[in-house]
């Protein structure tokens, strides 16, 4: 059970593959058009159930509860050794 007021992410299919814009390329046309947004859960709910959240702008949005307290994991990545020797003098 996820408590009301928890910061969560919801997911919603906006357009099924059949409903997508006519100009999209074939690979994109095979997959649905999906929206995700974070907000405060409005009522106690189970993961993967249909819920409503209140976003940072105050909108009330419906969708499937997919993440509890979503966070950022982006980083500087693994070391790319090819960069280390650039600009040390030798190659200029």
């Amino acid at each position: 059970m996820v408590k009301a007021g928890t910061w969560v992410e919801i997911e919603k299919i906006l357009l099924t593959p059949e409903q997508r814009a006519p100009q999209v390329p074939d690979d994109t046309k095979k997959v649905p058009y999906v929206m995700r947004v974070s907000g405060f859960l409005q009522k106690d709910a189970e993961l993967n159930s249909e819920v409503t959240v209140k976003t940072l702008s105050g909108r009330i949005v419906e969708g499937t509860l997919v993440l509890i307290r979503p966070h950022y994991e982006h980083s500087f990545g693994d070391t790319v050794e090819e960069l280390l020797t650039i600009g040390l003098g030798g190659e200029l």
Binding site: P25, V31, Y33, S57, H74, V80, L92
Partner: protein, 471 residues
């Protein structure tokens, strides 16, 4: 009664939603089948350059430093003929409140939104512009929603865009995260309709007016530092607003330096492809936006685009992904500055252009942007490897977009390549002919088109007859 939210129904309400969300009626500027009164549209904003500077100073925008990159210039001079190797200066736009020149572009929109009594702003942007709108909205007490294209169908986010989502949320904005596709515009319209917020489109007159201060400032700073005007100004090209606004500001300062666009060459990759989305190491400043917007600006999300880059462009340099990564690393190691990809794209162009210019000439790279987790070139290269792209040192011309990135072994291999400007102008012309048959063009239309590609009427007449002969 709830409104029809199908793709077709929402797109059909486009004009109505646009009018409501900007308070701008574009119809009044129409002067022909193709033509519209561009200068009147820009003037009707009601802001002088002095107003722009004053408004921007209220929210930590503008007056950014200009630095001479002496070590990089010296390195370039070792790779060119004696007497060649122009001085390279950079305008450190990362010093704006949100970390990029886009703060200029957002600032006037935020001011207008506040003045007109809108409660919030909506920006469709996966990049610095979203963060800039969020930063400006925060300072003016407005709500903000940023609509991003960020994930592929496997929910893998492009690291640079993930970072931008973080930054928008840091400024208190709501971030709507979408998968790949041009339907972003559709959902953006739905959000505008639902909220009644101001449409902070990148392509309004307000957005472009805000950039004019950049061109104006840089000319005065170069005059102060070097006692003369710059000879060329390098501008990273995507939607064309950076170039348009900067060039207009330079002209306002009485400077006629060459205006040179620069983009990362991403030819071969489709911009709306779910597969290709995460196989690009640059999210903007690339040919996927730069070329289509140059040759037909009115593909934008507003009826008439205020960003009309071919009107001001003298040259257009393309650089490869590997070349930009190399120069990014050099900027850190030689100049002690870590900056992000947007400015480093035109910096790479500057390296190639400096070689053909005399050593007493001056090139200005007119922007930098912040860098950090996700945006950093190490993050991008590491991510590219995870996506199966080969990364190696060697001859950058061997790189194949979407398959490999080849980082030069030596500065001499940073060469870029110029686009044929005439080909771009002809491409614009073909688009114009597609929209309205040339037999229906009035004299006003012809004058407008010639001006839109920075040519005269005799050039246009000749180009039109050439097109006719081809078809």
């Amino acid at each position: 009664m709830s409104r029809d939210t199908s793709y077709q129904a929402v797109m059909a309400r486009k004009n109505e939603i646009m009018k409501m969300s900007m308070g701008l009626d574009y119809d009044v500027y129409k002067t022909g089948e193709l033509a519209f009164d561009y200068e009147k549209m820009m003037d009707d904003c009601g802001f002088t350059l002095e107003d722009v500077v004053r408004i921007q100073a209220e929210t930590k925008v503008g007056n950014t430093p200009l630095y001479e990159l002496k070590n990089l210039t010296n390195a370039v001079r070792k790779t060119c003929k004696p007497g060649k190797g122009a001085r390279i200066f950079v305008k450190d736009e990362a010093a704006n409140a949100s970390g990029s020149f886009k703060a200029r572009r957002a600032s006037i929109s935020a001011y207008v939104a506040q003045q007109k009594g809108y409660k919030g702003m909506v920006a469709a942007s996966s990049g610095n512009y979203g963060a800039a709108v969020a930063s400006q909205a925060a300072q003016r007490g407005l709500k903000c929603i940023v609509v991003q294209e960020i994930y592929d169908s496997n929910k893998i986010g492009q690291p640079e865009i993930v970072e931008k989502a973080r930054k928008c949320e840091a400024f208190g904005a709501e971030v709507i995260r979408l998968t790949v596709g041009p339907e972003l515009f559709y959902y953006n319209l739905m959000v505008l309709e639902e909220t009644g917020y101001f449409n902070a489109s990148l392509y309004t007159p307000f957005g472009i007016k805000g950039v004019e201060s950049l061109g104006y400032e840089l000319v005065h700073q170069v005059r102060e530092k070097a006692g003369k005007d710059p000879d060329a100004v390098l501008i990273t090209q995507a939607g064309g607003g950076n170039l348009t606004g900067t060039a207009r500001g330079m002209l306002a300062a009485g400077c006629n330096a060459r205006v040179v666009a620069c983009s990362v060459d991403l030819s071969g990759l489709h911009m709306a492809s779910d597969h290709d989305f995460n196989r690009k190491s640059f999210t903007t400043g690339h040919t996927g936006f730069g070329v289509p917007f140059a040759v037909w600006p009115d593909r934008a999300d507003v009826p008439r685009n205020a960003a009309r880059s071919l009107r001001y462009m003298d040259d257009y340099i393309l650089v490869r992904q590997g070349e930009v990564f190399y120069v990014t690393e050099l900027l850190s190691k030689l100049e002690g500055m870590e900056r992000g990809p947007a400015g480093n794209t035109s910096l790479t162009g500057a390296v190639t252009l400096a070689r053909e210019m005399d050593e007493d000439q001056i090139i200005v790279v007119q922007e930098t942007e912040y860098t950090g987790a996700g945006k950093h070139h190490n993050s991008q290269l590491s991510f590219a490897r995870q996506m199966g792209i080969e990364v190696r040192r060697g001859d950058p011309t061997e790189g194949v977009n979407g398959k490999s990135i080849v980082i030069p072994e030596h500065l001499v291999q940073v060469v870029g390549h110029k686009q044929d400007m005439n080909k771009l102008r002809m491409s614009y012309l073909k688009n114009a002919c597609k929209h309205v048959d040339p037999s229906k063009w009035t004299d006003v239309d012809k004058a407008f088109v010639a001006k839109d590609v920075k040519r005269d009427l005799p050039w246009l007449e000749e180009a039109l007859s050439k097109l006719k002969a081809e078809s």
